[in-house]
Symmetry: C2
Subunit: 477 residues, 2 copies
């Protein structure tokens, strides 16, 4: 029996949201009163109904349940890669990169790529999610292309950044390994549309499908994220079991106060209406550091919208800020406690780290009272107390915060966490009466880039750009 088939173990590993410090009982008059939640009752009911009615469109919600065959294929492919390649490189951007990076950081060794081969549980792992020429060229200084598998991830099959990288990689592969180049590529893309699909089919490149109804920022639990995870030795069955467990909790819990995704969304929306336009995400755990990046995309792109579902101009959204405990106590906490009361902090708290490290006692420090009180404690205690102390300092200054509590960081809790935040985001979208699943605001910049690159069909836009006020030497210091 797998441990995630044991109900007692699963319940012991349940990821919980502690929102005491959002409430006025704990944080004072700046906090939220129970009556404020109560007064949203009809909005909440409408949102709950919305989630039920739209479930069939939110196909990312089915990923923990409908991938048995795909997972078998993913694991076989991952095993093939582990046996035959020393480097695994993801080419992707946004939702095709942030999930793979975050899960890798959470569930593999903190210095994975630098481990000696015999201690590393898979090939070296890289995600190339930018088009900076210095960064791109640096990769090829450290990998051996003959021993590299590239996973090109783009749902549309046409993402400019990713297909540019693809052209570069195909060119090098063809020059280096000749006709075998197709064996160094796996395409993760739409089932039927886009340039990557066409090329993959024409050259018999191995592919995985990004299913319909699964947008980039909701795609970590489909092959977009699962292949990389499996290649690096992560138990993707357990990851999906965690997500399934959280989905069930959030679907079956009728009481809003007991539904971690829904109550979190309600509290954030109330906070937004109270002028908290900033959402700080602060893991007290290096392994969860890049979950803040993943969250930043999910929350920003989903909720940052000009129009509501009725077409009213609302300019809504909350800006995510990535922080890391305890590191950023020495960088951001001064502002969080003394600056404007304009933010909500979400702590990611870990009860049990996977290592225990003692702070030793050394005779030479016996008389040094600024040091010796630390000896005999563990780093685990230190980071835990610092998390609590930061929470406390925010409470003392009347700032709202909440904690997402992990018993331990493992595939089961990470799967829960991903599902929790996706559901929280979707529910917040329902409460705000917006479409949480589109991103119309990125089109303007894309068109301008096409025009500047002289892509056929963008002459009008190019003229528009030429008409802009000439800024050369106008205000420059």
């Amino acid at each position: 029996m797998k441990r995630y088939e044991d109900k007692a173990w699963k319940d012991s590993m349940r990821v919980r949201v502690d929102f005491n410090n959002m409430m006025s009982e704990f944080v004072g008059e700046n906090g939220i009163k129970l009556e404020e939640i109560e007064s949203m009752r009809s909005e909440i009911s409408r949102a709950v109904k919305g989630m039920e009615q739209k479930r069939s469109n939110m196909r990312w919600r089915e990923l923990p349940f409908n991938q048995t065959e795909i997972v078998t294929e993913l694991k076989a492919t991952a095993q093939h890669i582990r046996n035959n390649f020393e480097y695994f490189v993801v080419l992707g951007i946004g939702g095709s990169a942030l999930g793979p990076i975050a899960v890798h950081q959470a569930l593999t060794h903190a210095r994975y790529n630098e481990l000696p081969d015999e201690k590393r549980n898979g090939p070296k792992f890289y995600v190339e999610d930018n088009v900076d020429p210095e960064k791109i060229s640096a990769l090829f200084d450290v990998i051996d292309i003959k021993k590299t598998m590239f996973n090109i991830i783009t749902k549309s099959g046409n993402t400019s950044e990713t297909v540019s990288q693809m052209l570069f990689v195909f060119d090098i592969l063809k020059k280096t390994v000749g006709d075998d180049w197709t064996k160094h590529v796996i395409a993760t893309t739409d089932a039927s549309k886009g340039s990557l699909r066409l090329i993959a089919d024409k050259y018999s490149i191995k592919t995985f499908i990004v299913p319909d109804g699964v947008g980039g920022r909701f795609s970590e639990l489909c092959p977009v994220g699962l292949l990389a995870a499996s290649v690096c030795g992560i138990d993707i069955d357990e990851l999906l079991a965690g997500a399934a467990y959280m989905d069930e909790i959030c679907t079956e819990t009728a009481d809003i106060m007991q539904n971690p995704a829904y109550i979190s969304a309600v509290l954030e929306v109330i906070a937004m209406r109270k002028g908290k336009n900033i959402s700080v995400f602060m893991p007290y755990c290096d392994a969860l550091k890049y979950m803040a990046d993943w969250y930043a995309q999910l929350w920003a792109e989903s909720l940052g919208k000009r129009y509501d579902n009725e077409g009213n101009e609302v300019f809504v959204g909350q800006t995510p800020v990535k922080a890391l405990g305890v590191t950023d106590q020495h960088s951001q906490i001064q502002l969080y406690t003394e600056g404007p009361n304009d933010k909500v902090v979400t702590f990611l708290e870990v009860e049990n780290y996977r290592k225990t490290v003692e702070i030793p006692s050394l005779e030479m420090f016996d008389e040094l009272h600024d040091v010796n009180f630390l000896s005999g404690h563990t780093f685990n205690e230190l980071i835990g107390h610092e998390c609590f102390s930061t929470e406390y300092a925010l409470v003392q200054s009347g700032r709202m915060s909440k904690n997402i509590v992990f018993n331990e960081v493992n595939a089961f809790t990470v799967g829960q966490f991903l599902c929790l935040l996706e559901l929280q985001t979707a529910f917040a979208g329902e409460l705000l009466n917006i479409n949480a699943f589109d991103q119309p605001g990125v089109e303007e910049g894309k068109k301008a880039t096409y025009a500047l690159l002289e892509r056929p069909g963008y002459d009008e836009k190019r003229k528009e750009l030429e008409m802009m006020p000439k800024k050369k030497d106008c205000y420059i210091a």
Copy 2:
């Protein structure tokens, strides 16, 4: 002659601030009018005087000019380390970590630690700026302690996180290399105070001094940052020459519109008064990615203040947000263009990358119009056009932005940049009439941590913590 002794080269490398898109002429009614700058004339004069009068206290301003002897010693020490050690580990947090990380990322190979030894210009480099037990233990899986030099950086000599790490490292060193342990340690700390100073003097550990009047977040250009930079092969003379060049520009330029540090501060303060409580920092360059982290500390801790200099409650400050172009176009730009108009974006723009990489043309894509328009361009063009297009999209939606423009990323331009931002921050502090150099808001959390660790003398705080409302199982989902 060094290139930074050539005036023509220096002027060609001048870092400039393009603030057209802060102004209403370019960005429309949400922008700043010249009259608004004009109406701050007396505030600006007061701030300019403040900078002059306080110059002798701002001793970080002298660092580009008064370190000739120290730099000679730093370079000799760095050479010793390069000759004798394979790993160089900084133990430090906040200002003792963010500068060294940012400068390393800017001025060494993008995948420095993974380069083969013969291609790497110095020992492998690590900065340990957290107390996460998993992260700490991971370091010792990848370094060989017998070949490691540790640089312990804490100005006070008593920073809990850093001295905990120090205890751990001293213990391992003593067990591994015995009496030679002191040869594996360099202490960067106060000249006379603190536990680290006491121990260093007692055991004849090599030290460098963090000068008086140089606070953590203003310390990159003293031995805090310079040793690590020199160890990794960075030209610290050129770095300091760049800072000196910018300091002179910002000191000698009487016209506020031509003073890059001062005009930037004025514009940000006006924006803050218009409700822009968020400052996004978005380098279009992987090498400058961690400059956003360095800036985030500088801006947040310096300006996030409860009281002004007269003791009035002001709760002032602007929250820094770290972004990366083009990557975060696929994560944050939807929010920036369509969400609340509550932010100013600062782009770091690079005119000449240190590599040029072409996007190749491949016959197989000839008919694919979503791909083939990219062929024949370079990644340099692509990232440059995307930067401009994002700027353009923000202008179209009436959002303010400005660009800090680098001709190229090199030690001279990075030195300028560091100085520019430090001066901008100090000047903004003067405009806001606050103390930009303290951080009283972090004390509360520190005391709570001491109390929880049962440090003698913190019984009162411990009682206070025990008196807090019991939150167990109160609001948890």
